[in-house]
């Protein structure tokens, strides 16, 4: 697909598509913006201003492509908190002071983008962030459920008591006024409609998004009811209030609290949640972008900062990137940032010309939309998904959730991070390692060949040192091949695995590849591909267990690919072979000076008498231990006399040859002799083994290291963990050779 051009040309080429998408989004954004303003405890117009300013400014200044900006779910909770605490009970005074905090938070966001701290959002453990978002969902749900059934001012203010109070008020409805019952029926009816909407099978109904249906139906009921009744169908207090003189009644934000701690707490919390919500949304949208463009996160943060400051000055809420509206945007065919711009402009037109219609929207309908939004943020179906990744992740999720509900957002996420760290200390038994190596660099990235990068990760990899890993991952063009080798790290946590999964997807989309190697041992002790990958249980008993029930052990992605490969080539795959195979390796000189610790990923080809295996070995003991992982093929060629020799290019075997005292042998094929170093003692037998055919075949293929012990050949490529590609290349090479050898030459 052709990428849309940027700038004005992109606009002229795609404006129809963007206008259409922008229109649909503005219809969705209109009710949600009003609803979020109400959930924030601010006047309805504040949400609309935020959407208009967000659309117009971020479309011009931003660094992302198909995102939509406006008031956000998570921020509603923070803004409400700010208004209540700053105003000290007076919501209107609080609102103007909160606007001051919003302007300051805009400045802070701009600053974050300028010093390129977009990476900060990646610093939080995944499960803790999920827990915090779920807690925000509960807070919205708890507050708005009361508005939905007509209780505008419930007794409690904390989320958990609010939830309990809701059921009490529900009972109280039976003996309530007709007016209240009307409101409650409207609210509950809207909620039921929203829940059932996805089950409705009428195609034309899905042409308009559910929240808009709710608002349209509710406004319809109100207007028809008013006509019949002669007076407002729902009482005035239950209607959206946009004063006719909203433009002339503008007042500047109140900065009088700037010297107080609570003002700054509000500003910092707003900045924190705004950056997390925006960055998560931007990242999510990069995956949904049909043209696979990469957003400039820091530029977007700067744009959001400017938009937030302007919006605050004009009386609007913070501007963030929102994922729900953005995905509506993409699914309606948006191509460039202009869609966001149109969405903003159209909302402005709605406010200017449809004000009287907007003031007919009943609050319970909007509250129902918010209750539904809150429920979706909580998303109970994710519980089982998190539990699959690991029970400790579920624990962290709920811990952060309750900590957030009780102590607020900032303390909640901080406690979540702390407990995540404690859990990692205990689970991986590498607490000391974490402390010792946390502040140290742990990544090495180099270009082994053109377009082929090796990334080696030392010590451990978790959410705290992820920024270092991320900066390395970002510096590799996603069109190239990258092998991330974790064999030197003792564990990799869930957050990093989750991010890596995203990178694997990114590399695939752009035509490159990212492969994780060195995790086989960890995969077997983890319960899920994205769970904590730890080698803490690398004890004899675990290995014994794995070898016993090799069939049952969980496979890493690499092992799954190898297993597929073996089936297609008529080979047997065993993920944890028995120690018998280790013994077969000891016959080679190469392993004489190395102790084989364990082997994995055995592929056996019976008719060619060869097997491929991954070996983990070490030389030296204790503190001088030098561990190594290596993939190799052992092959017993049939029907030929196999002399003892070593052949290689990088001279890995020289070490052994030194002990064996053998000499260089020239086959007489000049090019072959130039490329390889061949050593052995029986020159005559070796020359007769390396026939012209044989050397020609070896010249056509990449150079492998080979050692022959007289009965079998040991063949391997590099002295490090092999990627699936390299593993396949090696096995195919030997299979071809065996094939060639078994067909008698003319």
């Amino acid at each position: 697909m052709h990428k849309p051009s940027s700038g004005f040309r992109g606009f002229t080429e795609n404006w129809q598509a963007d206008l259409k998408a922008g229109f649909v989004v503005s219809l969705v954004a209109l009710p949600i913006s009003i609803a979020l303003a109400l959930a924030s405890g601010a006047p309805a117009i504040a949400g609309l201003i935020s959407a208009v300013i967000g659309g117009i400014l971020v479309a011009h200044l931003g660094g992302s492509f198909v995102t939509i900006t406006g008031p956000g779910n998570g921020l509603a909770v923070v803004t409400l908190g700010a208004i209540t605490t700053l105003g000290g009970g007076d919501m209107l005074a609080g609102y103007y002071m909160a606007l001051g905090a919003i302007v300051v938070s805009g400045g802070l966001l701009f600053l974050l983008g300028t010093v390129r701290l977009g990476v900060l959002a990646d610093l939080f453990p995944t499960s803790a962030v999920q827990g915090m978002l779920a807690a925000i969902g509960i807070i919205i749900l708890a507050k708005q459920s009361h508005v939905m059934i007509g209780t505008l001012s419930p007794d409690s203010s904390e989320p958990i008591p609010l939830l309990f109070e809701f059921f009490a008020s529900l009972k109280g409805l039976i003996s309530a006024d007709v007016e209240i019952i009307k409101v409650a029926v409207m609210g509950l009816g809207s909620l039921i409609f929203l829940i059932l909407f996805s089950k409705i099978r009428l195609g034309w109904m899905h042409a308009v998004p559910a929240p808009l249906w709710v608002v349209v139906i509710a406004v319809g009921i109100q207007m028809v009811g008013t006509k019949i009744n002669g007076q407002s169908f729902f009482p005035e207090v239950y209607l959206v209030n946009i004063p006719a003189d909203w433009m002339s009644s503008w007042r500047p934000p109140d900065f009088s609290g700037i010297k107080e701690g609570s003002f700054w707490t509000a500003a910092i919390t707003l900045t924190f949640i705004a950056s997390i919500e925006s960055l998560l949304s931007i990242k999510g949208m990069d995956r949904l972008d049909p043209f696979k463009r990469k957003s400039n996160v820091n530029k977007d943060l700067r744009a959001l900062g400017i938009a937030t400051a302007v919006s605050g000055l004009l009386g609007g809420l913070s501007v963030v990137t929102v994922i729900a509206r953005s995905s509506v945007n993409v699914s309606n065919g948006a191509k460039t940032r202009a869609a966001n711009f149109f969405h903003g402009i159209l909302i402005l037109i709605f406010i200017l010309f449809l004000r009287s219609l907007l003031t007919q929207i009943p609050l319970p309908a909007l509250a129902a939309i918010l209750v539904f939004t809150g429920y979706k943020l909580l998303n109970p179906s994710q519980f089982s998904r998190i539990a699959e990744i690991g029970m400790e992740q579920l624990f962290l999720f709920f811990f952060t959730l309750f900590a957030t509900l009780i102590y607020g957002l900032i303390v909640g996420i901080a406690l979540g991070m702390l407990v995540t760290l404690v859990v990692q200390f205990v689970m991986t038994r590498s607490g000391m390692d974490i402390l010792r190596y946390l502040s140290r660099p742990n990544t090495l990235l180099y270009e082994e060949e053109d377009q082929k990068f090796i990334l080696n990760i030392n010590y451990f990899s978790n959410f705290l040192n992820y920024p270092r890993l991320k900066s390395k991952l970002d510096s590799v063009p996603p069109t190239s091949t990258l092998i991330a080798d974790f064999s030197n790290s003792s564990f990799v946590d869930h957050t990093v695995m989750e991010h890596l999964a995203g990178y694997i997807e990114l590399f695939e989309q752009k035509g490159g590849s990212l492969e994780l190697v060195g995790l086989d041992m960890s995969a077997a002790s983890a319960t899920h591909p994205l769970g904590v990958q730890s080698k803490a249980n690398k004890s004899g008993s675990l290995l014994g267990g794995l070898r016993r029930d090799s069939g049952k052990a969980r496979l890493s992605t690499k092992q799954e690919k190898l297993s597929e490969f073996s089936v297609m080539n008529g080979m047997d795959f065993t993920s944890w072979p028995t120690p018998d195979w280790d013994v077969k390796l000891d016959q080679f000189n190469y392993f004489k000076y190395r102790r084989v610790d364990y082997t994995t990923n055995l592929l056996v080809h019976h008719s060619h008498k060869l097997f491929a295996i991954e070996v983990s070995s070490h030389s030296g003991e204790f503190i001088m231990k030098d561990s190594q992982q290596l993939a190799c093929v052992v092959w017993e060629p049939q029907g030929v006399e196999l002399p003892k020799f070593v052949l290689d290019r990088e001279r890995i075997f020289e070490r052994l040859a030194h002990f064996a005292g053998s000499k260089d042998i020239l086959t007489g094929q000049i090019k072959f002799d130039q490329r390889f170093a061949l050593k052995g003692s029986n020159a005559k037998a070796i020359r007769s083994f390396f026939t012209k055919e044989c050397t020609d075949f070896l010249m056509r293929n990449p150079s492998f290291h080979m050692e022959s012990n007289g009965t079998a050949l040991l063949i391997f490529h590099k002295e490090r963990v092999a990627s699936v590609q390299e593993f396949k290349l090696m096995v195919n090479f030997v299979l071809d050779w065996a094939e060639q050898m078994s067909t008698p030459s003319e």
């Binding site: 990469k294 400039n296 010792r436 660099p441 990235l445 180099y446 510096s475 030098d626």
Partner: protein, 292 residues
């Protein structure tokens, strides 16, 4: 630049005798190196030299079949750190070889082994041995620092000289480059720019290293590979040596003597010392630095 690379040729190699489990292997290793370099070997002992020590020492020499006449032995009482360095100065030692543990213990940072302490103050070239064996291994693969620094030419020349003496076959010249010289890629466009910039820097550095190597007398047997790595200086080369499974890592001597402050805020050499990947040679250039 009109630099001339002069290898630091080691004529007098000394080792400190302790009675650690690795003592015998270290003795064997240092003797082998001295033999290969054609250097005189000195053994220093700091502390009380008892009869028992004498007997053990003699049995080591006997088991390793090292002639006693081939070694100059000096024993002295006093503070190990001070005495070791003064002995080196007295005897005009140019390479001090010491056994070292691969990793400092967390709570001993302020009370580290003698080897490391000396290393931090040494005015001689220092060889830290991590995996000496009695039988000996060929020093096959050497990783040497090739970054743009006035001390590098001599270090590189020393590496080439040593590789010919030790019979090494592969020499990896690792050029550590500062990540900060690259644009951090934010989007597709800056990614392209960043790659272009990286390639340009690598080309420039390649020219510099080629020029340096042309000043050294490289034997045909030695295969030289160049690797440009962007990352934290000091740490990167150590990690690379670990990944490449090198037998010897050769680096420049530190520009300043390392103090307590440097140990807490680690940089350059400190990264290597705190987690030794392999045998380490710190080349101390005797030449006055004209370009510093």
């Amino acid at each position: 630049m009109d630099f001339k690379a002069t290898p630091v040729e080691y004529k007098k190699i000394a080792t400190a005798m302790g009675f650690s489990p690795m003592a015998k292997a270290n003795l064997a290793e240092v003797y082998r190196i001295a033999q290969k370099c054609g250097a005189d070997m000195f053994v220093f002992h700091i502390g009380q030299w008892s009869d028992k020590c004498e007997a053990t020492y003699n049995s080591f020499l006997k088991e390793l079949s090292i002639p006693k006449s081939g070694i100059t032995f000096v024993s002295k009482d006093g503070d190990p750190k001070v005495e070791l360095l003064s002995l080196c100065a007295e005897n005009k030692i140019d390479l001090l070889a010491l056994g070292a543990l691969t990793r400092e213990k967390m709570f001993k940072v302020f009370n580290v082994s003698i080897a490391r302490d000396v290393c931090r103050k040494a005015d001689v070239s220092l060889l830290l041995l991590t995996n000496s064996t009695v039988e000996g291994r060929v020093c096959e693969r050497i990783v040497v620092n090739g970054s743009d620094h006035p001390k590098t030419p001599d270090t590189l020349a020393t590496a080439v000289w040593l590789s010919s003496k030790l019979g090494s076959r592969e020499l990896y010249v690792v050029d550590e480059l500062n990540e900060k010289s690259l644009v951090h890629p934010d989007d597709d466009k800056s990614q392209l720019n960043s790659t272009r910039k990286r390639k340009q820097i690598e080309r420039e550095q390649h020219g510099r290293i080629a020029k340096l190597l042309s000043c050294c007398s490289v034997s045909k047997k030695l295969e030289i590979k160049e690797q440009h790595v962007f990352g934290k200086p000091g740490y990167t080369i150590a990690h690379y040596a670990k990944v490449k499974r090198a037998d010897l890592l050769i680096v420049n001597s530190p520009d300043t003597k390392l103090g307590l402050f440097d140990r807490i805020f680690k940089h350059d050499l400190e990264y290597i010392l705190s987690d030794l990947p392999t045998n380490l040679l710190i080349v101390h250039t005797t030449k006055i630095l004209r370009h510093a």
